[in-house]
């Protein structure tokens, strides 16, 4: 598929030459995303603290009490949109 990639490169260069999609357009997308990211990152600090609490608590709470801890933290974290899983589609 290297021929398709080469052709796509030529297409991208032509788009830039014709002013249909330039580096400036890509840079503007980057700026818009950064603004979106900055706003989104203001809100989840509480959620992050909750995750830190979970990890800390896991270390100090006896194993037999952990199911209760897990349920309590899940109850707290659900409205914050925190997910316990680190993977998964």
């Amino acid at each position: 598929m290297s021929s398709l990639v080469a052709a796509a490169r030529s297409d991208a260069a032509r788009l830039a030459a014709e002013g249909r999609w330039t580096e400036a357009d890509s840079a503007e997308l980057g700026r818009v995303f950064e603004r979106s990211a900055a706003r989104a990152l203001r809100t989840p600090r509480l959620a992050e603290r909750s995750l830190v609490l979970r990890r800390f608590a896991r270390r100090i709470v006896p194993a037999r009490a952990r199911p209760h801890l897990r349920r309590a933290l899940a109850f707290v974290e659900r409205p914050l949109g925190v997910v316990s899983a680190r993977r998964g589609r």
């Binding site: 990639v5 809100t43 830190v52 998964g88």
Partner: protein, 374 residues
Amino acid sequence: MSATTADPVSPARPDRIDQVIPSIIEHDAVSNHTFIAQGLLRQMGFLSEIYAQTIGPGCTGRVKPLGELPFLADGSQWVLYQCSIGGAAADVVARHPGRKLLDYHNITPASLVERWLPPLAEESRLGRQQLQMLMPLVAFSMADSAYNAAELAGEGFAYPRVVPVLTEGRAFADPPDPTALERLTAARSRGGADWLFVGQIAPHKADHDLIKAFACYRRVFDRDARLYLVGREMGSAYIDALRRFAAALGLAGAISLPGSVGVGTLVAHYETADVFVCLSEHEGFCAPIIEAMSRGVPVVAYAAAAVPETVGEAGVLLPEKSPALVASAVHRLLTDGATRAGLVAAGRSRAARFTPEAAAAAFQRAIGVALAAP
């Protein structure tokens, strides 16, 4: 050989091979792999349970809390550690008296998630440190791609074996959910191409780069195109940023984030997609690429981490992912019938090499090698 020199002797066959995993949850490749591995170990005659530090919804009853892992010191119990992140699970495995096996699914580099979820970045760094801790303790290691195996070898693990991700193959064979199919088909009837990516909504999957490329594609080539980002979100901040980004670009109606979906809905997405686009910065394998190929969806992907190995010659691999290049590659692919047909055929052929049966046989062979290893 001298009669006084002892030959390396294989350890006695254990009664049980238990698995330990940091977290387990539905709709997740590593978790599915672990469940299927349990079945295969039992099929080989071993007792086998799964012990996890975090047990997600849908897994309760099938998985035991890590604290209940037996510590049998008589050689009758081995432990297979499914490694994809750091945590207490690795410490428990390290302390366990039984023979230790490791199955490596890669650990997302901390730098890719640091900004969005610092605790996760911390766990990623911990995971890398724990790999070094486990290296001298592990008798046998395997990984689900050559890329992951090379990382293990780089950490000092001897001869890690490549064993493909275990799947039930449901995304290959199940029928689509009729309701989802009807909804997606109705959207298609309004014209425009359907882009699809399947995977956790997470910064290292670079969904934001997908939105950038899609924005370019909509403006330059196809004003009616749609983008589906199918997967569970990792934390709330990143997906919030993606939604704000899509709205700021005026694309909120063209980009769907349906969250985690069942197999039938997933298949409906594969059935209706025109192209599968993956711009991830990091993948240890990327099973959805193979699923898309098996469903006849051509793949365009950024050549990062294990992605080139997974795609092989059966997809378009991009050396960089500027919006114009990605959009142009997708446009070329969708407007050149012969190229598209060739890629679809190549994709189906490649996917056929990753059948559930082949992966299961490879896993059982690997366990056989581990049993014979001194």
